[in-house]
Symmetry: C2
C-alpha cells in the first residue's frame, strides 16, 4: 500500500494499484532476498544487500526505502528483523529514519566510516610502498609513564619497539611502541614485513577503541638526521593507547611524523 524503494523522490501517484498487474516488486528489482539456510543472520544479510544497493547506486541519496512493514512482508521477514538491518545502516550513517516520513538514503559525500588508522595500511592504500626498519625490539620493565598509559604495574615486563617507517625509501615517521608481554609474538622479521595492528589482529586481539592525542613540535637536534628534516622543522606527534574489546590496554605508542610528508585523516562520529 505504498510506492517504496527506488527513485521515489517525486510523489507520482500512479493509482497505487498493481495488484492484478505485474507487481514489479522493488525488493526483487534490487536483488533483495535472504537465504534461510545460511548461517549468516537474516538481518545481516539484508543489511549487506541494502548497503551494496546503496554503494552501486541502485538506491540513490534521498530516495525513500518504503515502510518497514511492507518490506518485511515482501521479504518474508518479521518487522523486528528488518528494523535491525536498517538500524545497523543508520548507525553506519548510510540511512536516516524520520518518524511519520520514512527511511531515506543519506545524501553523503563521505563513503567510508574510516577505521582506526594504521600508518602502514594508510601508506599501502595510497600506493606508496611502505618499508619498516626495526631499530629496537626488546623486553624489559615498564617505566612509570608507560605503566600508567597501559594501566599495568610499574616494572611489569613490556615490549619496547622502535621503528623507522619509510615510503619510497624516504623516512616518514619514527614510531615508538610499548606492548604488554604475553599478548603477542613480536618477531623482528614480521615487524619489518607488515604493520603492528595487523600483527595484533592476527594474534586474535579484537581492537575496539583508541585514545589519541595529536600535537606538533619542532625537530630536535638528535632526531634531525634520522628523519631527514632540518632542526626546528615542524613535526606532527601522536600518542595513542589502544584497547581491545574487554577494555584492556594492548598498546601504547608515541609517534613522530614528518609534517611535510604526512597528515592525519579521520572521521569523528557524534553519539548523542
Amino acid at each position: 500500500m505504498s510506492k517504496p524503494l527506488a527513485n521515489a523522490a517525486q510523489g507520482k501517484q500512479d493509482g497505487q494499484g498493481g495488484q492484478d498487474r505485474q507487481p514489479k516488486d522493488p525488493a526483487v528489482v534490487l536483488g533483495l532476498g535472504v537465504d534461510r539456510s545460511s548461517p549468516v543472520p537474516l538481518y545481516f544479510q539484508l543489511a549487506q544487500q541494502l548497503e551494496a544497493a546503496i554503494e552501486r547506486g541502485a538506491l540513490t541519496p534521498g530516495s525513500l526505502l518504503g515502510n518497514e512493514i511492507d518490506l518485511a512482508g515482501r521479504l518474508g521477514l518479521s518487522r523486528p528483523t528488518v528494523r535491525q538491518a536498517i538500524q545497523s545502516l543508520v548507525d553506519k550513517g548510510l540511512l536516516v529514519r524520520r518518524r511519520g516520513v520514512g527511511t531515506q538514503v543519506v545524501h553523503s559525500q563521505v563513503k567510508r566510516p574510516l577505521e582506526l588508522s594504521s600508518l602502514y595500511d594508510d601508506l599501502e592504500a595510497a600506493g606508496q610502498r611502505p618499508e619498516t626498519r626495526v631499530l629496537r625490539n626488546t623486553l624489559g620493565p615498564a617505566s612509570a609513564e608507560v605503566a600508567a598509559a597501559l594501566g599495568v604495574a610499574e616494572g611489569q615486563e613490556v615490549h619496547h619497539v622502535e621503528r623507522l617507517r619509510l615510503a619510497h625509501g624516504e623516512p616518514m615517521a619514527f614510531l615508538t611502541n610499548h606492548i604488554p608481554a604475553g599478548l603477542l609474538d613480536l618477531d623482528t622479521a614480521r615487524l619489518e614485513a607488515t604493520g603492528l595492528y595487523r600483527l595484533m589482529r592476527a594474534a586474535g586481539l579484537t581492537l575496539h577503541s583508541a585514545r589519541q592525542s595529536v600535537g606538533a613540535r619542532a625537530t630536535a637536534a638528535d632526531e634531525a638526521e634520522r628523519l631527514a628534516e632540518p632542526e626546528g622543522a615542524p613535526l606532527l606527534t601522536m600518542r595513542r593507547t589502544t584497547f581491545d574489546d574487554t577494555g584492556r590496554a594492548v598498546e601504547f605508542g608515541a609517534h613522530v611524523y614528518r609534517a611535510s610528508r604526512y597528515s592525519f585523516e579521520f572521521q569523528l562520529l557524534v553519539r548523542p
Copy 2:
C-alpha cells in the same frame, strides 16, 4: 536462579537458595527501577541508570550483570527492552557481552566516549575562560575550494567567519569557517559569546559526523603577531567538514592552533 550483579567475580556457590530468605534484590540495591509514566523510553531510563551505576563504581569492572531474563523479570520489563538498554551501553564501550558467559562491565580506563570536539567547550571544560574575537563575518560567493569541501556549487552564497580564540587573554588559535547561507543566523555578538557548534545545535541542526585532517606547519610571517608565536614556530593545523544527520555538509573549517598551547585529544572507535 543465579547470583547476578554486584561483585560476582568469584563463583561462590552459596546454595543458590534465598527464595524464602530476604531476596536482597540486587536491582533494588543498585537503585534500578523505571518510571512508566515518564515520557523517557524505558530502555533509555535503564541504560542511564546502569551507566550511572558503573560511573559511581556500584558496578565494578569485570563484574557480571546477571542474565537478561531475570533482570527483565525483576524490573517488570520484557527481555527485548532490557536488551536494548544493554546494547546501547555495549555500543558505548561500557559493557561486553559474551554468549554462554554473560554481560560484564568493561575494565576500561577510558571513561568518556569523547564527542566531536569543540575548541570552545574543550577550553571551558578545562577551566580556562575562552574568549572569542570575531575578525570577519561576511556573506559572499564560495571559492572553488570551499564549494568542493561543502559540496555546493561554486559561487553559492556562504558565510565567511574568521575568529581568534583566546584563553586567559592569550591567543590559542585562529579559526576560519565557511557555512552555507540559510542554515544559521550568524550574529557577531553571539559568535563572541559562545562556540559555533553550540550555535548550530541551537539552530536545530543535528550534527552527525565530521571528516578531519590534522597536520602541522611552521608559522608564517603574516600570522606570527596574530598568534603571538615567533616566525617558524610549529603550528597545528586542522581542516574539518561537518555533516548533519542527513549527510549534508553544514560547515567547513580551516583552523590553526599554537602547538605550544594545544593538542587534540580524541577517541577512535573501531566498527567491525
